[in-house]
């Protein structure tokens, strides 16, 4: 992928989507550029989480119109794992607990599924552990967390660090961070941001979904998109953050 500024890695085109009988996204359009950090901001109920669910193909969401083009292909009918294997990663707002499934075993299965898909050699246990240890330290994760059951009994901060660990190991191309900062103390926020910033390589794109601007002090956005009532109502540079803080979402003109 070149670094051409006009190139788009992900194009969300006039998407309509509903959850149950309720239409949430009402003609949402948004383009992600390679190597850029896009922040999505908006009031509660604007459709921020539905947007992330729609991109990764969550069962809850029914797309009723529009298209999603990823690397030039329509992915709207792809299975969730196909989207993941092709490099779309979602850091969940509320990572689910899966009892009895060893965290490291799970992650190695995930990493090897992706490597296999990309035609790379699978990592053996030793190679995998070596690789993972590098990131554990960076994220300030205790080494016993990898031998525990997946997210079971993890604190809010531990769950989010675990999401970022998975992101770093899976090396995705498009990273969606859904409220990554919610429930984090300052140390966890720093560690998580450090992990995210490490992943910036000029090619990867980030979609940072957030209610508050706090995380944007740590991960500098290139674009701010304001989402309201299921549509992007404004796109601007990072200077918009200060304006939003001062005047709130209501002051934004469509």
């Amino acid at each position: 992928m070149s670094n051409n500024k006009n190139e788009k890695v992900l194009e969300i085109k006039d998407v309509h989507a509903k959850i149950g009988n309720k239409e949430i996204l009402k003609g949402l359009s948004l383009d992600l550029e390679p190597g850029k950090v896009h922040a999505i901001m908006g009031p509660n109920g604007a459709g921020k989480s539905t947007l992330s669910k729609t991109i990764v193909g969550h069962y809850d969401v029914e797309m009723t119109g529009g298209d999603i083009i990823y690397k030039g292909k329509s992915i709207k009918d792809w299975e969730p794992e196909e989207r993941a294997l092709e490099g779309i990663f979602l850091s969940f707002q509320h990572p689910v607990e899966i009892p009895g499934v060893n965290n490291a075993y799970f992650l190695r299965t995930a990493v090897n599924a992706k490597r296999k898909h990309e035609g790379k050699e699978e990592l053996n246990a030793a190679e995998f552990l070596r690789e993972m240890k590098k990131y554990l330290e960076l994220l300030g994760m205790k080494s016993d967390m990898i031998s525990r059951s997946l997210n079971e009994g993890f604190s809010g901060g531990e769950k989010k660090r675990n999401e970022i660990l998975q992101m770093m190991m899976l090396e995705p191309d498009v990273i969606i961070l859904d409220e990554i900062d919610s429930g984090l103390d300052i140390d966890a926020l720093r560690a998580v941001s450090e992990g995210i910033n490490r992943m910036k390589d000029g090619k990867r794109s980030f979609l940072v979904i957030t209610h508050y601007s706090r995380i944007l002090d740590y991960i500098e956005p290139d674009y701010i998109h304001v989402l309201k009532d299921g549509k992007v109502i404004k796109t601007a540079g990072p200077e918009l953050v200060a304006q939003l803080e001062e005047h709130g979402y209501d002051a934004i003109e469509e």
Binding site: V56, E79, A84, L90, I98, F106, A110, A113, K114, L170
Partner: protein, 480 residues
């Protein structure tokens, strides 16, 4: 996720449903004194055994089939069943005399009756039972060097009458229940194990049961006696051909652990489950009970139940010796139209006795899974403790899970803890794993294995691998 996809997934094909094509001696269907005498004679049993069988039969005639379990099935016609079937070439002296077709069948089941061929590089002594007879018991000589007796129950009745007379019916009395009484009258083969004082059995012992003949029942009887300070780990496996009729399996297992002895009994039950409409499959009515007779003794039941149309089974422990320990670890899977009513009884009689119950029920498609367990603490069982954990996992929305725990405590200081959970494989869990590049089928399997982990970790290594593979096969394609 669409329901039909899940259903396709959880109706994994039964791969052991082939028939062994050997000539069989079968007694005509029906039961009377003559049939019992016939079985006893075929087994070359002494007169006392014949008399015991007849006594059990006459008592059984006056008993009624129990119907308190959460199971629904058509009435069993006990006169349409043949009570004895044997491969014509059964009961050989050496491997050369075993019908090659039976050897081939066992190879197909992944069980080698040749001693040099070992399971996963570990020596496992095997008693192979087809229908009503034991066809081969391996490693007998090597075990004899340690004083361990490992033979078919028929041989034991002939060769070790004093041990049989002392222990058979001592844990499960002949009239304990309807099915145990029937078994006492007509039991055909099974395994006998005796571990002498202070001996740690040098290898895993294993019995593999195969129902083969048409319209026959299988009524095996197993007796394991671990003398003072001894240890044995015993495993049983089973399978049957796919048939449209239901076949009855009514076994009895008795375990006796003397002072400081330990018995670890593992079961991988894979009888033919029938089809998705409930046609065919094995009716599995089994009585299993262990007696911790001496102080500091321990009996541990581990079962992985994936087969049978109907399962009625409660492996239990009577904790008579002081400080004795009883354990029950169970994974029961019901898919297709299978029904299982299974659990355990822990009867605390001795002081400071303790028991642990970990039960994991998995239901899919139209499967109905019931846990039924009794923890009873007698007046003399000072300081008794029990911990029970019963978890159910539902896959899809047509299946069911039911839990019936019974607690009876006469010792007010007894400590009983019971935890129960029912969960559904949630779409959130599945989606999480799929978002992490893991396909739906692997995701279901990962969640199910995680759910069963505590039980699988109790199985001997080789069998844990088998159990995992079996579970995978049973729930195959849990995804579209």
């Amino acid at each position: 996720m669409a329901q039909e996809e899940i259903d396709k997934a959880v109706s994994g094909e039964y791969t052991l449903g082939f028939e062994i094509d050997v000539e069989t001696d079968v007694v005509p269907p029906g039961l009377n004194d003559d049939v019992i005498r016939f079985i006893s004679k075929k087994k070359e049993e002494p007169e006392w055994m014949t008399e015991l069988r007849l006594k059990a039969y006459h008592k059984w005639l006056k008993m009624e089939e129990p119907h308190w379990a959460h199971l629904h099935y058509d009435p069993i016609d006990y006169n349409s069943i043949s009570y004895y079937a044997a491969p014509k070439t059964g009961g050989p002296e050496s491997l050369d005399e075993v019908d090659p077709k039976i050897l081939a069948a066992y190879e197909k089941l992944g069980i080698s009756l040749e001693e040099q061929k070992q399971l996963a590089g570990v020596k496992v002594a095997v008693d192979a039972v087809v229908d009503s007879v034991s066809v081969k018991t391996t490693y007998q000589e090597e075990l004899q060097k340690h004083g361990v007796i490992f033979c078919s129950i028929s041989e034991a009745i002939r060769d070790y009458p004093e041990l049989i007379q002392k222990y058979m019916f001592s844990v499960v009395p002949m009239t304990d229940n309807f099915f145990a009484a029937l078994n006492s009258a007509v039991f055909t083969d099974g395994t006998f194990v005796y571990i002498p004082k202070g001996v740690r059995c040098p290898m895993e012992l294993s019995t593999y049961f195969r129902i083969n003949a048409l319209n026959t029942g299988q009524f095996e009887r197993t007796l394991i006696v671990a003398d003072e300070g001894s240890y044995v780990s015993y495993n049983e496996g089973c399978s049957a051909p796919m048939r449209d009729e239901n076949q009855l399996h009514a076994a009895v297992v008795e375990l006796v652990a003397m002072k400081d002895a330990e018995i670890k009994y593992s079961t991988i039950q894979n009888w033919y489950p029938g089809d998705e409409n409930g046609k065919g499959g094995i009716y599995n009515f089994v009585t299993k009970r262990g007696l911790c007779k001496g102080d500091n003794s321990k009996i541990s039941w581990t079962q992985v139940e994936t087969g049978s149309a109907i399962t009625w089974k409660y492996p239990s422990c009577i904790l008579k010796g002081d400080n004795s320990v009883g354990e029950f670890y169970s994974v029961a899977v019901t898919t297709l139209a299978q029904q299982a009513d299974t659990g355990t009884k822990m009867i605390h009689l001795g002081k400071n006795t303790s028991s642990t119950i970990i039960s994991k029920g998995i239901s899919a498609m139209k499967g109905q899974n019931t846990y039924r367990g009794l923890v009873k603490i007698g007046a003399s069982a000072e300081g008794a403790r029990n911990y029970s954990e019963c978890d159910s996992l539902l896959i899809g929305d047509q299946c069911g899970a039911h839990t019936f725990p019974y607690l009876e405590s006469k010792d007010t200081k007894g400590q009983i803890e019971h935890e129960a959970t029912t969960s559904k494989i949630s779409d959130e869990q599945l989606f999480y794993l799929r978002q992490r590049c893991i396909n739906e089928e692997d995701a279901v399997s990962m969640i199910v294995h995680g759910f069963c982990k505590e039980v699988f970790s109790q199985l001997p290594m080789e069998y844990a691998v088998e159990a995992k593979a079996l579970l995978e096969l049973t729930l195959e394609g849990s995804v579209g």
